[in-house]
């Protein structure tokens, strides 16, 4: 189905190629797993196989790529589009039409299908993706997991011979990710299954499907290729060193016991105290109901639960970014939503899921200094920038928006730490981070905890929860369902299932 020889691509205006010297052979109906650190050209390869590179992008192509017997460079895009479908990472950026069934039909309309055939096929594709009941709903009212299966239905509808999936589950809670993979597994049970190219950093989810593995290094070069399991087994250390997650690793890593002499006391005034805390957005249903909890200075807490269970809402209420519509929350004895901004910033730092919302300056070099008044604060800003490898002269004048995903995340964490807050609140801090960036983030947060900063991290990433936090609070439909040691939650399969964490 796919044959590549010496494939390479450099985006216009970039000094280095995104992808180079890739050789690849994939049989009809097989499943290829593509792995690599961020910036390794995984997405570029996916776009090329789907026929979007070079047709929709400017840049320099080299080598040869043949998909379904057609040379990608010479074939008109309409013929390539008939062959391959691609699902992207962000579910909401794939919704075109308002109603679910219309959205599935969109790709068929573009190919000029007859109306009766469209009606039959839309129903079929919705069933294959496991969202048949949602045909008449508005796409924006679906959960993230449902939206991603809607995207799958839309791509499956024209019966592509090749399915390209670019980190399709990284926005989903673990249960939503598992449901997505269950649908993929069923697709492969059919008599004439489509060929699948899968980019996924949650290797344990993807491995049961994968026949072949292609690992890329940070320069966009092939690092290893071959049968998936055998290649992982033979080169585990080398792949791990290149920043690639390897199978079974998540289960092997032990929970971090915490800093020595961790200042988690039972006595004293709690740093955060919530009583009967609840919130609803506008006149919608309650997002959070009756939450009472205390967090002590220096404590490190994971906030877990399904998409929409109220994690972000609780995190925002604690950090004073949202005023509670019910109950009270106190941060260091004050109502955080009423604290003047300058005083709030010394008590709470907040790291947003999307780092781009956080940047306030046009230069990386100035970003941390925004709003700082004392020279001690500025000195700390410079130290932080250096500690996070962001003080390089080539970065100082760059716009924060042009940084790579890993650099943006480090800069956004630095923004939250620059005033040395008593508590650092993080929303999905490991989202979009490869293995190397994960390690850097974990090390940085452990240092902060050792220095006495409390952590509250809303996360789907159980590996991260085990590596950094000691206590886990599980939310279910806006209420606290679990509150105890992180290690106890991780080892309790039934409880994890209840919280959509398996």
């Amino acid at each position: 189905m796919i044959r590549a020889r010496g494939l390479g691509w450099r985006y216009a205006g970039r000094p280095r190629p995104a992808l180079r010297d890739v050789d690849l052979d994939l049989d009809d109906g097989a499943c290829l797993l593509v792995a690599g650190p961020s910036g390794s050209g995984k997405s570029t390869l996916a776009l090329a196989i789907a026929g979007l590179v070079p047709h929709e992008f400017a840049g320099a192509w080299s080598g040869e790529l043949v998909v379904g017997g057609r040379d990608v460079v010479r074939t008109p895009r309409i013929d390539l589009a008939a062959l391959a479908g691609i699902v992207f990472q962000e579910s909401s950026a794939q919704l075109v039409m308002e109603l679910v069934e219309d959205d599935v039909a969109f790709g068929l309309e573009n190919r000029g299908w007859e109306r009766a055939a469209m009606r039959r096929r839309v129903a079929g594709a919705l069933a294959e993706a496991g969202i048949a009941g949602a045909a008449r709903r508005r796409g924006v009212t679906l959960s993230g997991g449902e939206q991603q299966r809607l995207a799958l239905a839309g791509v499956l509808a024209p019966l592509p011979r090749l399915l390209v999936l670019d980190e399709p589950t990284s926005n989903l809670d673990p249960a939503g990710g598992a449901a997505f993979y269950e649908r993929l597994a069923r697709l492969r049970e059919g008599p004439d299954p489509p060929t699948i190219v899968l980019i996924e950093h949650r290797v344990d989810l993807a491995l049961p499907l994968a026949d072949r593995l292609l690992a890329l290094d940070a320069e966009g070069r092939p690092l290893a290729a071959g049968p998936a399991r055998a290649t992982f087994a033979a080169g585990a250390e080398r792949l791990a060193a290149a920043g690639i997650w390897t199978p079974g690793e998540a289960g092997r890593r032990a929970a971090w016991p915490g800093p020595e002499g961790a200042p988690v006391g039972e006595e004293g005034v709690p740093l955060v105290a919530a009583t009967g805390l609840g919130h609803r957005y506008g006149d919608g249903p309650p997002a959070l109901t009756g939450v009472s909890l205390e967090i002590r200075a220096g404590e490190r807490v994971a906030l877990v639960g399904a998409n929409g269970s109220g994690k972000s809402t609780l995190a925002r209420l604690v950090a004073g970014l949202l005023a509670a519509s019910q109950g009270t929350v106190r941060l260091d004895g004050n109502d955080p939503a009423r604290l003047p901004a300058a005083r709030l910033a010394r008590r709470a730092g907040y790291v947003f899921q999307d780092p781009a919302v956080q940047f306030l300056s046009s230069r990386v070099g100035d970003e941390l200094r925004v709003g700082l008044r004392t020279s001690a604060e500025r000195a700390r800003a410079d130290d932080l920038l250096a500690a996070l490898d962001l003080a390089r002269p080539d970065l100082a004048d760059a716009s924060p928006y042009t940084l790579s995903g890993g650099e943006q995340r480090r800069l956004s964490v630095a923004c939250a730490l620059v005033r040395d807050p008593a508590i650092l609140v993080l929303d999905e801090p490991t989202y979009g981070q490869d293995r190397a960036h994960f390690e850097v983030l974990v090390r940085l947060l452990r240092e902060r905890v050792a220095a006495g900063t409390a952590l509250l991290a809303a996360t789907h990433d159980l590996l991260f929860a085990g590596e950094v936090t000691g206590r886990a609070i599980g939310l279910r439909a806006g209420r606290i369902d679990f509150d105890g040691p992180t290690a106890a939650l991780l080892s309790d399969g039934a409880r994890r299932a209840e919280l959509a964490l398996t």
Partner: protein, 261 residues
């Protein structure tokens, strides 16, 4: 289960099951435009009053729009119309003209007949514009409008469906805006509307549009002739709405004109 199936089968937009809901959005657009142009040609308070009344009655009668929804949507515009009319009646230059007939006195303010008529005409115009556009919006789903623009008015699909996709990203933009403002606050900067917030919003919107465009292209958008999942055929409904929409106001005004003083 049965309840879920029923809920799933119910049209998302109740207007789909009504006469006006099924009328081509283009026909409605033509009628509404004709109404508003006709109204602009006269200074008489009669036509706007007739149009506003027709639009408000047509919603529940032919559009399956609940009265509560109309009120929720239009109440602010009604208040604006009332305020504008009152303001113009109270502060019109005609009030200072000693020759003008006094209609009534509000404390020290003398309100004359011509001023009252001008205020009434203005208020009624705003009311009519609000009611007619409200009727169009409340009986037209964005998808049908895009379909009609492409199928009947031969707009470029890239424009019509691109706009539809962008329209769906509006709630997301509101979330982004809230995030950008929260991010300033938690970094110790005062609230308000710093220009930087709009730059951030622009960056996020462009990034989102970029991704959306790529996803649309990946689904063969713009590669060849399209077919329609929801074809829009001109039918008796369109003819009836067009005839009634253009004929009724004309008839009312003509008879009103001949029977009037």
């Amino acid at each position: 289960m049965a309840v879920a199936a029923l809920a799933a089968a119910r049209p998302t937009d109740p207007s789909e099951a009504s006469l006006l809901g099924r009328t081509s959005p283009l026909v409605k657009l033509v009628v509404a435009t004709a109404w508003l142009i006709g109204m602009a040609l006269t200074l008489d308070p009669g036509p706007p009053a007739v149009l506003a009344a027709m639009a408000l009655l047509a919603g529940p009668a032919f559009g399956a729009v609940r009265t509560r929804r109309i009120v929720a949507w239009m109440a602010p515009l009604w208040v604006a119309a009332l305020g504008l009319g009152l303001f113009n009646a109270l502060f019109a230059a005609a009030n200072a003209d000693p020759a003008a007939v006094e209609a009534f006195r509000l404390g020290p303010v003398r309100v004359t007949g011509p001023a009252l008529a001008a205020g009434l005409a203005l208020g009624l115009r705003v009311l009519a514009i609000a009611s007619v556009s409200g009727l169009f919006v409340l009986t037209t789903s964005p998808t049908r409008l895009a379909d009609a623009l492409v199928q009947q008015a031969h707009f470029s699909p890239r424009f019509a469906y691109g706009a539809l996709a962008a329209y769906q990203a509006v709630p997301r933009l509101a979330d982004d805006l809230a995030d950008l403002r929260a991010a300033r606050r938690v970094r110790g900067l005062r609230g308000g509307w710093h220009p930087r917030i709009f730059l951030g919003l622009l960056v996020l919107a462009i990034r989102h549009a970029d991704r959306l465009a790529l996803a649309m292209d990946a689904r063969a958008f713009g590669t060849g002739p399209r077919s329609a999942y929801r074809p829009i055929h001109a039918g008796w409904r369109d003819a009836a709405v067009l005839a009634a929409g253009l004929g009724l106001p004309a008839l009312t005004l003509v008879t009103g004109g001949t029977l009037g003083p």
